[in-house]
Symmetry: C2
Subunit: 405 residues, 2 copies
């Protein structure tokens, strides 16, 4: 370090953050733009961007702690932002349909995944893990697509979102079951406790969140003097609810969603705009990091590829049919929309596979297949949604909107 230019050595460290931000954000936005140009949802472009810059392709960047955190924040903000546009009363009104959609949408992939794995000679426990990895819907992608297309007020949106919340609870319970199966036995009492706590949290928040916030916020706001105090409050509520959700046994994003929904009727438009800013900044990291997780090298072996493709197809159709069946009384068009909305897996599926891997009951190949399935369902879902909502979709620059009954 004799030359002042050697200071560029310290600048290499200062460069790391803007470089990572530029690479992930920029790649997601550029590929998103290219995707839109060829009539594919921007979100698919952002996922592909992750694959391209990630270890599967150029390897410019790998999933590190910062990207992981930005990605988690991204999906939290995404769900919070979506929650802000959902009315708790409407959400509750679709509860029964959503319950059936969620339950059929959990049983079908679980069963199909298990059957395929057993048919290919995997042992029962490994097959159960694969089934479990196929269960949990990652609603972030669907929510983003619906938001981008201005479809959050469509009658199917509430069903999808409510079913996704129930699905998350069920998914985490199934994870608890298979996880304790791997350890040798299922603790029924513990399982019951988890169920009760998580259901209690979700139900109480949906039922009493909105009225409580509606009462407290208007009294609190006039007393606050700091700049943008309402947004500050909203953020604290978001983080607090995400935390309580995790401690109650559901995912942080469910807490974020419920926080948004509780605030939906009382916060000002300013909070919507500011939350949107944070969301727009962070979501590309969520999308990019899903793509980055994909490692196509694992699929180089013929049989792994074959099983991978079968599992992928099963993952798509099991949700389409299972969830669609649950919503069939809404008509087959809406049923197919609900089904398509529940297709994306994502983080939770990968977490299940990862736990199996860590416990030594799942092989590297099965883990790779689970990630492949999670990433690909996520990339395919926006396309399915585009098809399912054709005619209802507001494409910027295309026909106006709402031609469907």
């Amino acid at each position: 370090m004799n030359s002042p230019l050697a200071l560029l050595a310290t600048s290499a460290e200062s460069a790391k953050l803007p470089l990572e931000m530029l690479t992930v954000f920029g790649a997601a936005k550029i590929l998103g733009e290219i995707a839109e140009k060829i009539k594919i949802p921007a979100i698919v472009g952002a996922l592909v961007a992750g694959v391209i810059i990630g270890p599967s392709c150029f390897g410019w960047i790998s999933d590190n702690d910062l990207l992981h955190a930005l990605s988690e924040l991204g999906v939290m903000f995404l769900l919070f932002r979506v929650g802000l546009e959902v009315k708790a009363s409407e959400f509750l009104s679709v509860g029964q349909v959503a319950l059936i959609v969620a339950m059929l949408g959990v049983a079908t992939p679980m069963l199909l995944g298990w059957v395929i794995m057993v048919a290919f000679g995997h042992n029962s426990l490994e097959s159960v893990f694969m089934g479990a990895a196929m269960v949990a819907t990652s609603v972030g992608i669907t929510a983003q697509v619906l938001k981008d297309k201005g479809l959050l007020s469509h009658r199917t949106a509430n069903v999808i979102l409510a079913a996704a919340v129930i699905d998350d609870v069920l998914g985490l319970l199934i994870l608890a079951v298979v996880s304790s199966m791997a350890d040798g036995g299922v603790d029924i009492a513990g399982l019951a406790t988890t169920t009760i706590v998580s259901v209690f949290f979700v139900v109480i928040t949906i039922k009493f969140g909105t009225p409580t916030v509606n009462r407290v916020l208007p009294r609190l706001m006039p007393k606050l003097r700091a700049p943008e105090a309402e947004f500050g409050l909203a953020m604290m509520f978001l983080f607090a609810m995400a935390l309580v959700a995790v401690y109650s046994g559901v995912a942080a994003i469910i807490g974020a969603f419920l926080a948004g929904m509780a605030l939906a009727e009382s916060v000002s438009h300013r909070v919507h705009d500011l939350a949107q800013g944070a969301t727009e900044l962070l979501v590309p990291f969520f999308l990019g990091s899903i793509g980055m997780k994909l490692d196509l090298r694992i699929l180089a072996q013929g049989e792994v590829l074959l099983v991978g493709i079968l599992i992928l197809v099963a993952a798509i159709f099991s949700k389409l049919l299972g969830c669609g069946l649950g919503a069939i009384h809404m008509g087959w068009k809406d049923a197919s929309r609900v089904g398509a909305g529940m297709v994306p897996r994502g983080e939770v599926g990968m977490v299940v596979a990862q736990i199996g891997l860590a416990k030594g009951v799942v092989g590297q190949d099965v883990y790779g297949i689970a990630v492949f399935m999670a990433v690909l369902t996520t990339a395919i879902a926006p396309l399915l949604l585009s098809i399912a909502y054709r005619g209802v979709i507001t494409q910027p620059g295309a026909e106006p909107l709402q031609s469907d009954p």
Copy 2:
């Protein structure tokens, strides 16, 4: 892990992110609110929040990689956001005044710091490092105060911001000099290269940034189809400029500021709002993490405390007087405002001391004093600014505004 409740072990990891976000963001906001209630700028509360939750006090949280990154992003967004409200032409028009303000504001603290340290028996090199640590203004705090008070259009704001940009270039050059002094000799040629590159980057960006963006953006925008494409472009520009700035030898935040300024005349109000959202989310981490860096234990020894206080006083008055003198032709009121605006040190000062520590030419005590000086000047500056701008300040809930000529 025999009980499903043991899943809470994995939830401990999921809880980490929302917990950290809630702790830092929440503490900054709550203390900020309390501060405003007792007529202290919210920003001081946020700094104190960092001290309270940090190792100096409760030790709930320590500066980790994520907080560091969020903090860096926070100050980058802060400066970007400020840049969006500054016109390059007005900025250039104050160039000469700013140059004098910056140079006097660099020479005075450097000299005073050196004298104090030598007087207390520190060797010449260590004293030079302390002087260098006292040089660089951290304009983020001032920018936030001016923005909060709606004073970014005040005639002194441009002088402060322009002087801070020049100050940053000078500060990094001084860092280069003292750093190579520690290594045994100064490489004049290398230093000249650094100077030319950094000055070139800053001047070119200020001169040609705005007209280039004004020409390119309106042609590009109609072609883009992705949602919130303009914000996406602005973010890519922000990260790219931060990166180029670092490679040119200036701080990332200077690049962020110049990016904002280049976009100021052409981006829509939507970009302002969305950028504001990201800024509001991230800035509390910047403020909190400054406070967290303070470790009061180092000041337990009597002499260290004495020197620390002397250095602190010198740091405040050297900028107040040095920078004020440079702007004295604006009248003593505006001169004192400019001086107060240049008082906060922050990151760069700490970096200088850290490099000295790493090179073994600076002791732990001197490092502690540098951090103490950097944090305290940052906490005091908003109070000085409140006093200096009294009468011009728009306090929410207080008198309207602009009573000063």
